[in-house]
């Protein structure tokens, strides 16, 4: 089964996939933008500012999903000595960090008209900022450490510490009094969001997921070519 994860096998797929993913991403994003900026209704309380939700929420979901995936891959990679899992994790991190940044900045832009402030040190915002710092440390670790074994160990430790923050982000609105409202979308129970707002949210989430897939594929291919460049030097 592990042979399936060998770079040689994966590269034949990842080298061809980006152009198709890019086309699909542009189509889905265009539909998402039309839905979220023009067709979806304004909120009875927040007015048109609710439209920021269509970039803020998918960015937050995607960054949390990517960090959780990176952690799982790092742990399994370290236990089963699968170097390719680290390569996949490394390739996922840039888009995860950018989505975290988008969530923070768009949250700030949403906060000003709704709460009257650009920034507040509440539990949800602070824990998201901490996640951004974990992403930054993770990306820096790959740049700083040359020794592969050392970087695998250090990045795994960073993700293990960082993953503790993920449930804190998720449940911060329930555990503490924050400016954020409780979750409107629940997988296990009925969501309180209307379908006219849920549909653009799902489309934009799909667009964000496709973008992270696109960046992942391009970064992964770059990393593989880097490895092969070193291989050619040794010939």
């Amino acid at each position: 089964m592990y042979k399936f994860f060998e770079p040689n096998k994966i590269f034949s797929i990842t080298s061809r996939a980006p152009k198709y993913v890019l086309i699909l991403f542009v189509i889905v994003l265009t539909i998402g933008l039309i839905e979220s900026l023009i067709l979806s209704p304004e909120d009875y309380k927040q007015g048109h500012s609710v439209r920021i939700m269509y970039v803020h929420v998918p960015a937050a979901w995607t960054t949390l999903g990517i960090f959780s995936t990176i952690t799982l891959l790092s742990i399994f990679g370290y236990i089963f000595k699968l170097k390719n899992f680290f390569l996949i994790s490394k390739s996922l991190a840039p888009s995860g960090f950018i989505f975290n940044l988008i969530a923070l900045v768009t949250g700030s832009l949403w906060g000003k008209p709704t709460w009257g402030t650009w920034w507040a040190w509440d539990a949800r915002i602070t824990s998201m900022l901490i996640l951004a710092l974990f992403y930054l440390i993770y990306l820096l670790a790959w740049r700083i450490y040359e020794n592969k074994e050392q970087v695998y160990k250090i990045t795994s430790i960073i993700t293990i510490f960082g993953i503790i923050n993920v449930p804190i982000i998720k449940y911060s609105v329930d555990w503490w009094n924050t400016l954020h409202q409780p979750a409107s979308i629940n997988i296990l129970s009925k969501s309180s969001i209307h379908s006219s707002m849920l549909f653009p949210l799902i489309i934009m989430t799909a667009a964000f997921a496709l973008f992270s897939l696109l960046i992942f594929l391009m970064k992964y291919n770059t990393e593989l070519i880097k490895i092969k460049n070193k291989g050619l030097d040794r010939l």
Binding site: P7, N8, K9, F11, S12, S15, R16, P18, K19, L22, L33, L37, I38, E42, G47, H48, S49, R51, I52, V55, H56, A59, P94, S95, I98, L101, I102, V105, T106, L109, W110, K112, P113, F211, L214, I215, M218, K219, N221, T222, L224, I225, K226, K228, N229, G231, L232, D233, L235
Partner: protein, 75 residues
């Protein structure tokens, strides 16, 4: 209609800024990764060109190298 979409009852600045920032981040990240990819690929092709025929045929026998060389299409 156009004014309503642009101004959004006074929320336009916040909404459009949020969407513009998102699209700017997307474009910047895509361009950066694309530049890195092209740079590495060009470096690889240049290095491969300097190999003698024996080393080149050995390198070509490796799956990934064959894929890199055959996949000349840009993303």
């Amino acid at each position: 209609m156009i004014n309503e979409i642009l101004l959004m009852n006074g929320y336009g600045l916040y909404v459009w800024s949020a969407f513009a920032f998102t699209l700017l981040c997307f474009t910047s990240l895509y361009v950066v990764i694309k530049i890195q990819y092209t740079k590495e690929k060009n470096k690889f092709i240049a290095k491969f060109g300097t190999l003698n025929s024996e080393k080149a045929s050995f390198a070509k026998s490796q799956g990934t190298i064959k894929e890199i060389l055959s996949n000349t299409s840009n993303i």
